[in-house]
C-alpha cells in the first residue's frame, strides 16, 4: 500500500481500494463545475499514491453534503475521503487555506457559517 493511501485510510477509516471508478460520486456531486478534478479521479490518484491530489482544489470545494456517500455502490464514505485529504494538508501546521481575519461581512454572516468554515479549514 502506498504512503498516501495509508494516511487517507488512517484518517477516514475508508478503504480507498474498494473504489472501482464507477463515477457515481461525481455524477451526483453538485459542485463539480467548481472542481479541478472529479471526486472519483481524486480517489484514483490516492490509489496510485499520486500526491498531486493534495494540491488540487477538489477536496476544498467538497461541502460534505454526503450525496456521494449515500450513493456509493461500494459503501465508501467519499466525503470522509475528501476530509482526509483536507486534514493531511491542515495538519501541516504551516499550511493556511483560509485566513479567518479576512472574512468580509463578518457582522452579517450567521455564526454557524463562520464556525463551520473554521471547523473545516483550520486545525
Amino acid at each position: 500500500m502506498n504512503e498516501l493511501a495509508k494516511r487517507v485510510i488512517e484518517i477516514s477509516g475508508q478503504n480507498v481500494y474498494a473504489c472501482y471508478q464507477c463515477g457515481c460520486c461525481s455524477a451526483g456531486c453538485m459542485f463539480t463545475e467548481k472542481m479541478d478534478i472529479l471526486p472519483n479521479q481524486a480517489i484514483a490518484l490516492i490509489q496510485r499514491g499520486d500526491k498531486s491530489v493534495l494540491e488540487k482544489e477538489t477536496p476544498w470545494i467538497c461541502a460534505s453534503c454526503f450525496v456521494c456517500t449515500v450513493r456509493c455502490p461500494r459503501g465508501l464514505d467519499v466525503a470522509a475521503i475528501m476530509e482526509a485529504l483536507r486534514e493531511i494538508k491542515i495538519r501541516e501546521r504551516d499550511f493556511i487555506r483560509v485566513d479567518l481575519r479576512k472574512i468580509e461581512n463578518i457582522e452579517k454572516l450567521p455564526q454557524i457559517a463562520i464556525t463551520a468554515v473554521a471547523q473545516k479549514f483550520t486545525w
Partner: protein
C-alpha cells in the same frame, strides 16, 4: 410532555423566530421544550476524521449537561430544531454508542464534568412531531393555510449520510415528512427536484460564488413549480437561500421561512414572521383576512 431542548447558536443569536415559533408550536401540542443548562456550540459540522475525537467535545459537553437533567423529563431524548445541530449531536451520540474506545478517550479527557453514558436519543423536532402525530397537528389547526403553495427544502443535514443507521429523518432520496406536515396544516406541498440538494454550506464565507451557483438553481426550481414560500429547518440554508434570492431577483423574492413559523400561523399562535413576509403569505391563503 416535558422534553429537553438544544437550541444551538443560530436560534439564539441570528434566528430567534425559529426558537420562539418552535416553543409556541410545541406548547400548542402539549409539549414543553426545556432548554439544556449550559449548552455549548455543537461544532456545526460533524468531524469526519476518525482518528481525532477533539472536535466532538463541544457536542459531548452539552450531552453531559443534558444527561444530568433528563431524569426530570418525560422521555430520554434531546430535541433539536436546527438541522445542523441535529446532524452533529446525532452523529456524535451514535459514534459514542458504537465505539466504546472513543467514549473512553473523551470521558478521560473531560475531567471537569461527569462521564457521558450514551443513553440519550437525539431527535429532530420534525420526528417528534411525527411521533406525536400529524393528525394531532391537524386537529389543532385554527387557520388552515389553504391555497398556500409550499416548497419544502430539506437540504443535507436532515437526510444524510444514511450510515450509521438512524441519521436521516426520512428516506434520504425521497423524503416526505415536511410535505406531510405541510398538508396537515392545510397547505399545498409543491414537489421540486432540488429539495434535497446542498445550498453550499459554509462556502458562503469565502466562496459565495459557490453558494450563489447552488441557491440560484434551488430557488428557480421552487419558483418554476409555482411555490409561494420555501420552508426549511436549517438556519444556514435559510441564509444561503436569501443570498440566492438577492442574486436572482432582488424584487421578486420568494419568502424563505422556518417550518415552525407556518405551523404557528396555522395553529393560531405567534409566528414571528416579519410583517412583509406575513402579508405576502396571508395574501395567498384562501379566506384569510389579508
Amino acid at each position: 410532555m416535558k422534553v429537553l431542548f438544544y437550541p444551538g447558536c443560530s436560534l439564539k443569536n441570528n434566528y430567534p423566530e425559529f426558537e420562539k415559533s418552535s416553543i409556541e408550536v410545541c406548547k400548542k401540542l402539549g409539549i414543553e421544550l426545556l432548554e439544556i443548562p449550559r449548552w455549548t456550540c455543537c461544532g456545526v459540522n460533524f468531524s469526519l476524521a476518525t482518528d481525532n475525537v477533539m472536535r466532538h467535545l463541544g457536542a459531548v459537553r452539552s450531552l453531559i449537561n443534558a444527561q444530568e437533567k433528563v431524569e426530570e423529563m418525560d422521555a430520554k431524548i434531546v430535541v433539536t430544531a436546527c438541522s445542523m445541530c441535529y446532524n452533529v449531536l446525532k452523529r456524535v451520540n451514535l459514534t459514542l454508542k458504537e465505539e466504546p474506545d472513543k467514549l473512553e478517550t473523551i470521558n478521560s479527557f473531560i475531567d471537569d464534568q461527569p462521564d457521558y453514558v450514551p443513553e440519550l436519543k437525539i431527535t429532530h423536532l420534525l420526528t417528534l412531531l411525527k411521533e406525536v402525530g400529524f393528525e394531532k397537528v391537524e386537529n389543532k389547526v385554527i387557520m388552515p393555510l389553504k391555497g398556500l403553495k409550499v416548497a419544502s427544502y430539506y437540504g443535507c443535514a436532515l437526510l444524510r449520510p444514511n450510515k450509521p443507521e438512524g441519521i436521516p429523518v426520512d428516506d434520504p432520496e425521497n423524503p416526505a415528512i415536511l410535505e406531510d406536515l405541510m398538508k396537515s396544516i392545510g397547505a399545498e406541498p409543491v414537489e421540486f427536484p432540488f429539495r434535497t440538494e446542498c445550498c453550499g454550506n459554509y462556502h458562503v464565507v469565502f466562496r459565495p460564488d459557490i453558494v450563489e451557483m447552488r441557491t440560484e438553481k434551488i430557488i428557480s426550481s421552487a419558483k418554476s413549480r409555482g411555490a409561494d414560500v420555501i420552508v426549511t429547518s436549517c438556519p444556514l440554508c435559510l441564509y444561503n437561500l436569501e443570498r440566492g434570492n438577492e442574486v436572482l431577483d432582488g424584487r421578486d423574492r420568494i419568502p424563505v421561512v422556518f417550518f415552525t413559523q407556518l405551523m404557528a400561523l396555522a395553529l393560531g399562535t405567534d409566528s414571528y414572521l416579519n410583517d412583509e413576509i406575513k402579508e405576502k403569505i396571508l395574501r395567498k391563503i384562501e379566506g384569510s383576512p389579508a
